[in-house]
């Protein structure tokens, strides 16, 4: 993309059934940006994020991304029988990452439950496992759907730290949010 943007979505539109969710939405993110997608329930925040992530075909407009990105959706992408360690090892193998599991698990505070099957973990612990994925591999773009959900105050502080660190390293974060969060945004897009 010409102006060094990490992601650019232009004139995006979404239809569900016969209802128009939104139209003519444009979103761009440069290095260091934190863009928040805000809106009421059902306004299409998740749809927009999924369109930006390439998971959903926009009814109109185009999305361009620079390189790979990290995605955390509403659910965490965890299997019930997986442990945090096995989940991370699996995706590390798939992505070809050589990161140190122990270090990453330590950083997100999952030392003790590292080998507990996910069906026995709390919602916050599962969310932390998803956050750990972000550290498996360096990718400039993070697309997060309601990432602060289910996290306790420690967890929220952790995520805020991770986001700030990522931004200072030249990454960008797009997050859909519908509550308040302990971070300051570059820009907000309201649906």
């Amino acid at each position: 993309m010409s102006d060094g943007a990490l992601i650019s979505g232009a004139n995006l539109g979404a239809i569900r059934g016969e209802r128009v969710l939104y139209r003519n939405i444009s979103v761009t993110a440069q290095a260091g940006d934190l863009i928040l997608l805000r809106g009421a329930n059902g306004s299409g925040k998740t749809t927009l994020l999924r369109q930006l992530a390439g998971l959903s075909e926009p009814q109109s407009g185009i999305v361009e991304r620079e390189g790979l990105h990290h995605w955390i959706g509403h659910t965490n992408g965890l299997k019930a029988y997986e442990t945090p360690r096995s989940h991370l090892s699996h995706w590390a193998r798939v992505w070809g990452s050589e990161a140190d599991m122990g270090l990453i698990l330590n950083e997100v505070g999952l030392n003790r439950p590292a080998d507990v099957p996910c069906r026995l973990l709390s919602a916050g612990q599962k969310r932390r496992t998803a956050l750990a994925r972000l550290l498996l591999e360096q990718r400039k773009l993070w697309l997060l759907d309601e990432p602060f959900n289910a996290l306790d105050t420690d967890g929220q502080a952790l995520l805020a730290e991770m986001i700030e660190a990522h931004r200072s390293e030249g990454g960008a974060v797009l997050a859909a949010l519908h509550g308040s969060a302990p971070i300051e945004a570059t820009r907000e897009v309201t649906l």
Binding site: A53, L55, H90, W95
Partner: protein, 219 residues
């Protein structure tokens, strides 16, 4: 695509197949159970059972393939793993193919090993066992491939078991027919050629359809 992601996909779907439904027990149990019901339903005459034996085994294979199909893709859709596969892997069709192969390996291939036992019980003659088993292996693969397409299309539907069976039914017919005929006719028969051709055809086409259906399910 390098082998590592594919191998990882294989390992993870193997773990999943093992973790759900008590691993092998469910499809094996269903298969043997169905085959056991047959003498009760049709009467104990040895001649009749021997005539319908191959057909019954194939029917049991077809039905038991549908038993576990529902969760193969729906689980990934619901827990968000499908989103991760869709973004980072070049081809979701390849991942779908691997999942299907694994599913067959866990739920279909053991039935192949079981058929001599049941075949004896139903009076299938010994010299017909080897072609029968190869036929079951291929036919099972075809069932799981087309059933996989039906399952992928229904991934976002709750309680889709019956829908999957309805969708898969017409697609199962050729393999069913060729397979049963092959038990009688053995290797030197047009049905063997046709079954092999159907298997290759399914291997080529079904994954692409599953990929398209999964991309749709994630929307």
């Amino acid at each position: 695509m390098s082998p590592s992601p594919l191998l990882s996909a294989f390992r993870s779907s193997l773990s999943e197949a093992w973790a759900n439904g008590a691993g092998l027990l469910l499809p094996l149990g269903f298969f043997t159970g169905t085959a056991t019901l047959v003498p009760f339903a049709l009467g104990p005459e040895a001649e009749l059972l021997s005539r319908v034996g191959p057909g019954v085994l194939w029917l049991a294979l077809a039905l038991s393939s549908m038993v576990t199909l529902e969760r193969v893709f729906q689980a990934d859709l619901q827990d968000g793993a499908l989103d991760l596969w869709l973004q980072d892997i070049g081809s979701i069709s390849l991942v779908a193919a691997i999942k299907t192969l694994t599913h067959w390996l866990v739920s279909g291939f053991p039935l192949v090993l079981l058929t001599p036992l049941i075949g004896f019980g139903l009076g299938v003659p010994t010299e017909k066992m080897v072609p029968a088993m190869l036929g079951y292996a291929m036919g099972g693969l075809v069932f799981f491939l087309w059933g996989g397409v039906a399952a992928a299309l229904s991934a976002s539907v709750a309680r889709a078991g019956l829908l999957i069976a309805l969708l898969a039914l017409p697609l199962y017919v050729p393999a069913l027919i060729f397979g049963v005929q092959m038990v009688e006719a053995g290797f030197d028969s047009p049905s063997f050629l046709f079954l092999s051709a159907s298997t290759l055809f399914a291997l080529g086409v079904a994954p692409a359809a599953m990929g398209a259906a999964l991309r749709l399910a994630a929307e």
